[in-house]
């Protein structure tokens, strides 16, 4: 089977189709931006996008994403290294501390803004609620997503 990760079609060996998707990304593809936080889908550090929808990859098998379009944090910046405006907004807003939730937060924020170009601050607060952060109290993460709204219009 084939999955498309960050725009690149990737052939998956038959032996790996039953593998946990998060472990497959991290161990087979060395895409370590998605993190293992709780292993049960409660914390969102493993968030990736499947067809632009946020998904907790620790709860999926590789098989579940056959023929799907996957975005991981490694696919957010331009190939030349230019950051996505949302990533830059995270930096400017001081939304990053330990950074462990950051990849998931960027992706869940990105998916939300793709669907909702004119959200209220409270909409953003609700949108990121599936993902946990223990450092920031979420405030500067919400600031960052709010600051990037204009880039999605």
């Amino acid at each position: 089977m084939t999955i498309t990760i960050n725009g690149k079609a990737t052939e998956v060996l038959d032996a790996l189709v039953e593998m946990n998707l998060l472990l497959f990304l991290r161990e087979e593809l060395r895409l370590t931006g998605a993190k293992i936080g709780c292993g049960k889908g409660f914390c969102g550090t493993c968030t990736i996008l499947i067809d632009n929808k946020p998904v907790k990859s620790c709860q999926k098998k590789v098989l579940d994403v056959a023929d799907k379009w996957i975005t991981t944090i490694e696919g957010m910046a331009e190939p030349d290294g230019t950051l996505h405006p949302l990533q830059q907004a995270f930096i400017d807003a001081g939304a990053i501390q330990c950074g462990y939730c950051t990849p998931g937060m960027v992706l869940i924020g990105h998916a939300f803004l793709l669907k909702n170009p004119s959200p209220s601050r409270n909409d953003i607060r609700k949108a990121i609620s599936p993902n946990l952060c223990r450092c920031t109290g979420y405030q500067q993460i919400i600031d960052a997503v709010e600051a990037a709204v204009g880039c999605y219009k």
Binding site: R26, R30, L31, T32, G33, A34, K35, I36, G37, C38, G39, K40, F42, C43, T45, T72, I73, E74, M76, A77, L83, Q87, F90, I91, D92, A93, G94, A95, I96, Q97, C98, G99, Y100, C101, T102, P103, V106, R121, R125, K126, I128, S129, L132, C133, R134, C135, T136, G137, Y138, Q139, Q140, I141, I142, D143
Partner: protein
């Protein structure tokens, strides 16, 4: 500064926002093995035999390690060497590790771990510290001779006289809970046997130097034989000191014995099961006040559940005694604190370190007392709070820095419009289902380790001949932004662009042991070490370039990436100056060290200069309480803290918001539940830390008063922000419901 105007910066932001930052589990080495801990079903038991045969024969398993395989010391700890690397004589809590399975893949190791059988004689277990201190209670550590880990006391004045002089004597009992740090990155470690015989360790830990001590002791080698590499860490909050170091030490042992790199990565459930927590306290508090609202006496007894091992319990409870009266002047104090062994999960350091519990007590007691006396709680605080020149309950005179307690209180009152909003509080009565309340709390906090321990820190500035600069400081990057604060400070001191400076997270082999990155001491100690190094660096450079600039060395100035002589016509670029130094065969290199000013302590009386400086802060909270569901919703929160000097505003804000958020979880939702010795809430679905929707937009106000005790001006902010939200919420809940909640977390009966 308006919060929205602050553009943040940190040196490691790009790698974190792109997913490139390599945390411990993101690293991999050739021929790396995987190890997992083995727990038993016992809570308190004498070990007879650990049967490992079946596990040894399981596929891909290389080795099973138990206490018998430890070549050095199997028992370790910061204070008491009682924490077992592997349970040896007994199992003392449900999180005790009896063995480590090493296999070529993690899955096999986990399967094999299930095959290990522990034969043991179950012993009666103790889960209530008050039971544990009874004379006939079974001993958890027989060699200790008692279940009392430690005692601390404060004896000041004469409390009996103080109570006699009081018009009101108020007595309450308070209780707090076990709290999990809930860092998002569970414990992880990789140990690598190097060809030169050194074991190299990468790990998720906030104290590389204690990790090195633990690992060296376990292996029975010297400190120089272990090198701990600073690695990006997914949160610590005080929780990645001893337990995290033990995980690293076990990896080191496995690496040493197998000759392979070994990785240990914890599942969340293992992390919550084994790692230490914030201490539950039971506090009996008696306060005597006059009808004028003056506190005359305080008597308190603190019983802290230390769990199965000592960890930092004596230090945590020491801070609780020093701060047992909050930021108030009390002439007569009698305080006893006990740390107690139980068969509960270990309790140790967590953000606040003995202060969140006491602030929850004191900041409600002052409000209860004010009400008895019949004056406003704000007025009551003003009458009793420490002011410039006041003497603390341990006899320390606060005259060598700005005592800004009143400033912090007034700032928050103004910002949140406290006095007006007081009028709208429901006190249990409302037309709708919602009850409204507002509350505040304040504290002072002794900075850094105080009389707990050795307190000094090193920094190294190593400029290159092209003008680039490498900076190292003996403080660990826990995620708080220590590195960026040090870069910004150095850039400011040397008058250079920050992009010129590369931070190198030092290893334990490249910089002197500068202690633990705890106690809000990172920026305080680190910034002053950087400042000392910068001063020495400028002295060297000035001497080298003064002849070119045709001035005396003391007239040389550093600004705008240039070095100036008497005036702007005499200058050379910073790059050129570095080049010149190399041509003169002089290293533009400086070592700086900062020693905390002297503190003192008399263990018998509990008197002395406990901390070399203090910070002051106040927080307020507004809540809505639903009468039917009992749910408490935090609708607004404001904080003002004096932190000396703000170096990196965006990151300082993050400390405020994060600390307040964590404090709200402490107040309302977080509680490790232990049933028959087993923790029942082992993951985030049942251990509930605040989510974004549980929090309002918060406001943070910096108060900056210079402090001669800290030459850089910076003090610290990590813990102060986390230690008063719970009492602020408790006071708000009181004004909403008309009822006092003296137990954490606050649970409202609907």
């Amino acid at each position: 500064m308006a919060e929205s105007k602050i553009k943040s910066w940190r040196n490691d932001a790009r790698e974190k926002v792109t997913g490139q930052a390599k945390y411990t589990d993101d690293l991999s080495f050739a021929d790396m093995l995987h190890a997992v801990p083995v727990y038993s079903d016992f809570v308190h038991a004498r070990i007879k035999r650990i049967e490992t045969k079946a596990a040894e024969n399981y596929q891909n398993v290389l080795r099973i390690l138990t206490a018998a395989d430890v070549p050095g010391a199997n028992r370790f700890g910061h204070i008491e060497k009682d924490h077992r690397i592997f349970a040896d004589d007994k199992i003392r809590y449900w999180g005790d590790v009896v063995a480590l399975v090493v296999a070529s893949d993690r899955e096999s190791a986990i399967k094999a771990a299930e095959l290990i059988e522990v034969e043991a004689e179950a012993l009666p277990s103790l889960h209530d510290p008050e039971e544990a201190i009874k004379p006939d209670a079974p001993l958890i550590h027989e060699s200790h001779g008692s279940n009392i880990i430690n005692t601390h006391r404060i004896r000041r004045g004469d409390v009996e006289e103080g109570f006699e002089d009081s018009d009101f004597v108020i007595q309450r009992q308070f209780q707090t809970q076990f709290v999990e740090h809930a860092y998002l990155e569970p414990e992880a470690a990789i140990a690598l046997p190097r060809p030169d015989g050194v074991i190299e360790i990468y790990g998720s830990m906030q104290h590389p130097f204690s990790t090195r001590r633990f690992a060296a002791a376990v292996l029975g080698v010297r400190l120089a034989d272990i090198e701990v590499i600073g690695t990006p860490m997914g949160g610590g909050f005080g929780g990645k000191d001893d337990t995290a170091a033990i995980v690293c030490a076990r990896a080191a042992l496995a690496a040493k014995l197998t000759g392979h790199p070994v990785k240990i990565r914890y599942d969340r459930e293992w992390s919550i099961r084994e790692s230490y927590k914030r201490h539950p306290y039971r506090v009996d508090y008696k306060m005597g006040v006059t009808s004028e609202g003056e506190i005359k006496a305080v008597q308190c007894k603190i019983i802290a559940d230390g769990g199965a091992y000592c960890s930092t319990t004596p230090w945590v409870t020491w801070r609780s005694t020093v701060q047992c009266c909050g930021p108030y002047q009390v002439p007569n104090v009698h305080c006893d604190a006990l740390g107690v062994y139980t068969n509960n999960v270990v309790a140790g350091a967590m953000r606040g370190f003995g202060s969140p519990q006491m602030n929850f007590v004191v900041e409600q007691m002052v409000e209860i007392a004010a009400e008895e006396v019949g004056i406003s709680p704000v007025e009551f605080r003003h009458r009793n709070m420490v002011k410039q020149g006041s003497v603390t309950v341990t006899g320390q005179k606060l005259d060598d820095h700005t005592v800004s307690m009143s400033e912090a209180l007034e700032t928050v009152i103004d910002e949140i419009d406290y006095e007006n909003k007081l009028k709208s509080c429901s006190f249990g009565k409302s037309q709708s289902d919602e009850l409204y309340g507002i509350g505040l709390a304040m504290s002072y906090r002794g900075m850094s380790l105080g009389a707990e321990g050795m307190d000094f820190c090193a920094a190294i500035i190593n400029a290159q001949f092209d003008g680039s600069i490498i900076l190292e400081v003996g403080i660990h990057e826990n995620g708080q932004g220590a590195q960026s604060a040090f870069i910004l400070l150095l850039a400011d001191e040397l008058g250079v662009d920050r992009d010129r400076i590369r931070y190198r997270q030092p290893s334990t082999s490249t910089i002197p042991d500068s202690g633990s990155t705890v106690a809000s001491r990172g920026v305080l100690m680190g910034s002053n070490a950087v400042l000392a190094a910068a001063t020495e660096f400028k002295r060297k450079v000035s001497a080298a370039v003064s002849s070119i600039l045709k001035c005396k060395a003391q007239d040389v100035r550093f600004a705008d990436d240039r070095i100036y002589g008497r005036d702007e016509h005499h200058s050379i670029s910073f790059d050129r100056a570095m080049h010149v130094m190399f041509l003169q065969q002089q290293f533009p290199f400086a070592f700086g060290e900062y020693r905390a000013p002297r503190v003192s302590w008399d263990e018998k009386t509990g008197q002395g200069k406990a901390y070399f400086t203090w910070v002051y802060g106040c927080q307020a909270a507004e809540v809505m309480v639903n009468k039917k569901s009992g749910r408490v919703r935090l609708t607004n929160a404001v904080a003002a803290h004096d932190m000396g000097r703000v170096i990196n505003p965006g990151m300082a804000l993050g400390q405020f918001y994060g600390g307040m958020a964590m404090g709200s979880g402490y107040a309302l939702s977080e509680e490790i539940k232990i049933e028959d010795g087993e923790i029942v809430n082992l993951n985030y679905n049942s251990y509930r830390i605040p989510r974004s929707v549980d929090l309002p937009d918060m406001s943070a106000i910096f108060i900056e008063n210079p402090d001669p005790n800290s030459p850089s001006g910076a003090k610290g902010i990590g813990e102060p922000t986390n230690e008063i939200m719970a009492p602020a919420i408790a006071n708000a809940v009181y004004r909403a419901t008309g009822k006092r909640y003296l137990k954490l977390p606050i649970k409202i009966e609907s």
